[in-house]
Symmetry: C2
Subunit: 339 residues, 2 copies
DNA sequence: TTGTAGGCGTTATCAC
DNA sequence: GTGATAACGCCTACAA
């Protein structure tokens, strides 16, 4: 029957002179199986180079061996980091990663996602921020009966379904650092409305100011949307202030790079005239001049853990953590204010 | 039988009072089918919300509906652009994209890839550079009987298996532009050894110099590896030359950003003291100050076409092109040399 | 134009 | 412990 050149379970069974089911038991490491039988079958498997057909397994088990990455994240580096973390977790397993971008703004987003889940029936899906913050999406997964784990900046779901970073506290620490250097007029560039991470980071910023008894006018807070351009624009608004801030916390590195750009355009030296702190620790943070002090966001580790949670019952592992701590990376974009 | 909640082909057949095969014909748009029957069955399909099970189809057809992206590219933006192009092509088809990074340096790379292809039996794979330049990989695909399309900087394979850009000519055009501005001492920063794109771009550079009758010492050519840091290092070596180059062509934008950085560190103004041209037109090219003149590399379009080639026989389309032209994007990093 | 029988490669059930 | 037998959901032959 080896028409495709690929040996099947039948070939193995025939050569080993056992039943298909026995071969199946060997493949699936069934405990109730004689050691000699197992060894004999395994030998035939190796000899024939037999590889179980995932499609047939999927059909029989009524479940696929695909792990979906559902995302609507505009940042390439972030998505790649998540993919890398997932693939680390999936390495040497029978699972494959399928990528599913969605359009947060689209009216049919939820329907599209449902269709994907119902058609493909992935073993599980990893929800990346910001789409992971949408409870309707998580609810759809539940309804359809698809495992899911959400990544986010706060615990939005039960530990089993969640991998979170402590953005609020991390930002508080970063801004505390600025304050400890002597800064009092500190600007904030927010992330996009509707991003939970943007809210958390803003809260951390406000926590730090409140903790130090600093009150600033509303104008020290500028809107951004995590892009370089928005950081540039926001910085221009902030630097127009009189007196202007001596430091700016940017809710991500990309915008922080825009701040550097804006400062340079008006002849300000970073960090002498303006200290800057970013968030993420993406490559751009180290590439920009001066290298940015930033908060390292352990996104790849989070993705790896999230993926391990997803496949936990098929590959029993140690319990995966749900909370990941971000840490401050001190580089050259911060110094004490002068004058 | 609707145990999973999902209606099957049997449910549709029963409700529509036809045979499974007739339903199958509707799904597969078989031409030999009465219009009234088709309409009736389609109505039941819609009513029941029936979705064909891809796993069952895969098993029966002995082929998967997965398109693999095989890559070992270190640049996040490039990989994301390719993924985006692929997903555009796959949108509204039954195919899914699975991502398969490989380690070019690993001794087991080829064996790992074979294992992936033999196990998963993807419908086809897209080979991204630089792994696409490895003939052994293409050969493995052929042997295993897996469709493949290679992306590259030159036609490395038959049109059916290839989507290429004209890097050599594009670079020649870019360097011609520099020469037309009056530059004569032009430095080159190469891509990594073993990357075909690096060779093609270097050839284009040499073509332009030769065409203008310019001869430069070997020291005007510096090695890089497509990273920011390598661009920085290479630029430092180039800028140490006496007399130093008035312009530098960098084989990609990432390294060009490093050149900008290096120039700034030694107080050189770009473009007044140094003109810079990059390659790729990734976001960093527009973000850096000044915005980089660069060569736009239509990587997403290439990936889309490559993917359409892959699924061509299942979704007959117009013939996809195999050669894509890169174009020069003029921004602010180039001007005539002074003094 | 439509239907029937059988198979794709695996797992689950339930005997032995 | 091990093995028939029947799913799983769809498709290809071939028949009607």
């Amino acid at each position: 029957m080896r028409r495709t050149g690929q040996p099947t379970i039948n070939d193995v069974a025939r050569v080993a002179a056992v039943s298909k089911k026995t071969v199946s038991r060997v493949i699936n490491r069934s405990p109730l199986l004689g050691d000699d039988t197992r060894a004999r079958v395994q030998a035939v498997i190796d000899e024939l180079g037999y590889i179980p057909n995932p499609q047939a397994r999927a059909l029989a088990l009524r479940r696929n061996f695909l792990i979906g990455l559902v995302h609507d994240n505009p940042n390439a580096q972030t998505v790649m980091n998540v993919q890398q973390g997932m693939l680390e977790a999936l390495h040497d397993t029978e699972f494959e990663m399928v990528v599913r971008p969605v359009d947060r703004g689209s009216a049919t987003m939820l329907a599209d996602l449902r269709h994907f889940l119902e058609r493909q029936r992935p073993y599980g899906v990893l929800l990346m921020p910001p789409i992971s913050e949408n409870d309707l999406v998580a609810h759809a997964c539940r309804e359809i009966g698809c495992r899911y784990v959400r990544m986010g900046s706060a615990m939005l779901d039960e530990a089993e379904h969640m991998v979170a970073s402590n953005d609020r506290e991390a930002v508080r620490g970063a801004v505390d650092h600025l304050i400890a250097q002597g800064h009092r007029r500190i600007g904030l560039i927010c992330g996009p409305h509707g991003f939970r991470s943007a809210r958390e980071r803003r809260s951390g910023f406000e926590d730090a100011l409140a903790g130090a008894g600093i009150t600033l006018p509303r104008s020290f807070i500028a809107d951004g949307n995590y892009t370089f351009e928005s950081g540039l624009t926001a910085a221009e608004r902030l630097l127009d202030l009189m007196p202007r801030p001596t430091a700016i916390f940017s809710s991500n590195d990309e915008m922080a790079a825009g701040v550097v750009h804006a400062a340079r355009m008006r002849g300000l030296d970073v960090p002498r005239d303006l200290s800057i702190v970013g968030f993420d620790d993406t490559p751009i943070a180290a590439h920009v001049w001066p290298p940015l002090t930033t908060v390292r966001w352990p996104i790849a580790s989070m993705a790896r853990s999230a993926t391990l949670k997803l496949i936990a019952d098929s590959h029993p592992e140690v319990e995966e953590p749900s909370l990941f701590l971000s840490t401050l990376i001190r580089r050259a974009s911060v110094m004490a204010p002068h004058g």
